[in-house]
């Protein structure tokens, strides 16, 4: 995906957001560090262009909520969480670049809930590459890409990397290719009916 395709994709996501949340009142965007933050800022601007109120944008650093901290070394660089507004009663749209195992989103949900009680949390991702390890799905997906588990999806943004680009990098070919994982449209699956018993 080059810069033009990326902008188009984001504009499409913004329209979908405005479509589902008319006016965008009571909606805030929270980007997951690192690349979710510039994406959230861009989406917020695009939402305004699409006729909505520009949502406020916060940043979430999930390092302290990772489930693999004791397995990785050295310690990951922390950039800090910065949510300069209350999320109580708001619709929070979490924004990230790539949805993969779902573990990052799990951490983000835990952290968000320690900040308050949003009315609803939704998830917007630029790329869904499948291979979920947790029962998590996105509400807004820019592009669904079928990937092999050891491929690497690299999102580059001009704010962080100097240019806009999405690369699918296949790992070096193995002697025996891995069995293709059934992906039976998991990313496109309809969301389960909203449960309200805990409301």
């Amino acid at each position: 995906m080059d810069g033009g395709a990326l902008s188009k994709t984001l504009a499409g996501m913004a329209r979908e957001l405005v479509g589902r949340h008319p006016g965008m009142a009571g909606t805030v965007f929270i980007g997951i560090r690192s690349r979710g933050v510039p994406l959230a800022r861009r989406l917020a601007r695009l939402v305004k262009e699409a006729g909505g109120v520009e949502p406020r944008v916060g940043a979430l650093d999930i390092t302290l909520y990772r489930d693999d901290l004791t397995r990785i070394a050295p310690n990951p660089v922390m950039k800090g969480t910065d949510i300069p507004f209350s999320i109580d009663g708001q619709t929070v749209v979490l924004v990230d670049d790539v949805l993969y195992t779902g573990r990052t989103v799990r951490g983000a949900l835990d952290e968000l809930i320690d900040f308050g009680r949003p009315a609803r949390i939704e998830l917007a991702v630029l790329v869904d590459r499948g291979h979920r390890e947790l029962p998590i799905r996105a509400d807004y997906v820019g592009r669904t890409v079928a990937t092999s588990p050891d491929a690497n999806v690299q999102v580059m943004l001009r704010e962080e990397d100097g240019e806009d680009r999405v690369l699918l990098i296949d790992s070096q070919p193995r002697v025996e290719p891995p069995p293709p994982r059934a992906r039976s449209g998991a990313a496109r699956r309809r969301p389960p009916s909203r449960r309200r018993e805990r409301a």
Partner: protein, 310 residues
Amino acid sequence: MSFGHRHLLGIESLAASDIQTILDTAETLREVLDRPIKKVPTLRGKTIINLFYEASTRTRSSFEVAERVLSADSVSIAAATSSAQKGETLLDTAKNLEAMNPDMIVIRHASAGAPHFLARHCRPAIVNAGDGAHEHPTQALLDALTLRQRKGRLKGLRVAIVGDILHSRVARSNLWLLSRMGAQVVLCGPPTLIPAGIHALAPVTHRIEEAVEGVDAIMMLRIQRERMAGGFLPSDREYHMRFGLTEKRVKLAKKDVIILHPGPMNRGVEIASEVADGPYSVILEQVTNGVAVRMAVLYLLLGGSAEAVA
């Protein structure tokens, strides 16, 4: 970022980049203290033992708060109520605690080198919370964090450290840290409280007016009565007259000078009350930063994989 240390035994063994890493991490973690729910699950399932052979209010509670905020489980042992009173040696105590399989021991001890001794003989990560008159690394780090927040940098700052240099582990750790980060330190105190040979590390003066002239920060040290059996000082009153930080003396420093004190303060001895409570004082900011710095140390030592670091 890499923090390739298993223990935090002192500032002397840290590189400038290590200090930078700890301060940057602390700066980020400080935000957690302002959250509505001041707890993150980062060190869930880690056990920390706080082993305090000397009295402490700030350091111990600060470590305990940091441990709780990061969700570690901790046990605090004060020597006054422990088996040390029954004659158990440090090594025996440590070996017994080690058998409970903690991930970290935070130790304060009256003897210099006690944490280093534990690091040689025990498996858990060791953090020095003050060893005799040797080092108090987390204090120097929180002082540095406070200085950096207020002044925007450490390099090139002029800092006076005034008081009982002889007995002060805070002075030693700060001297290492500040010189490593490119600040200029001047030491000041009565000749009886200046250790021999320290002239090699920093300029020394016996006149406080000379020490504080034009400095960016003044660190006042506590007169450590408990470590003074002999005649180090004629009287508190005379000390205050010669070396106490008064409003008049503060005026000799830069206009935007900040005053630090590691606590506990002897009001009217090393520091006048109007200075301690005055606009230049950052003493309470130091305490908040202390929690952040200790969170950073715990995170950097216990957050990553121990095997991969060792």
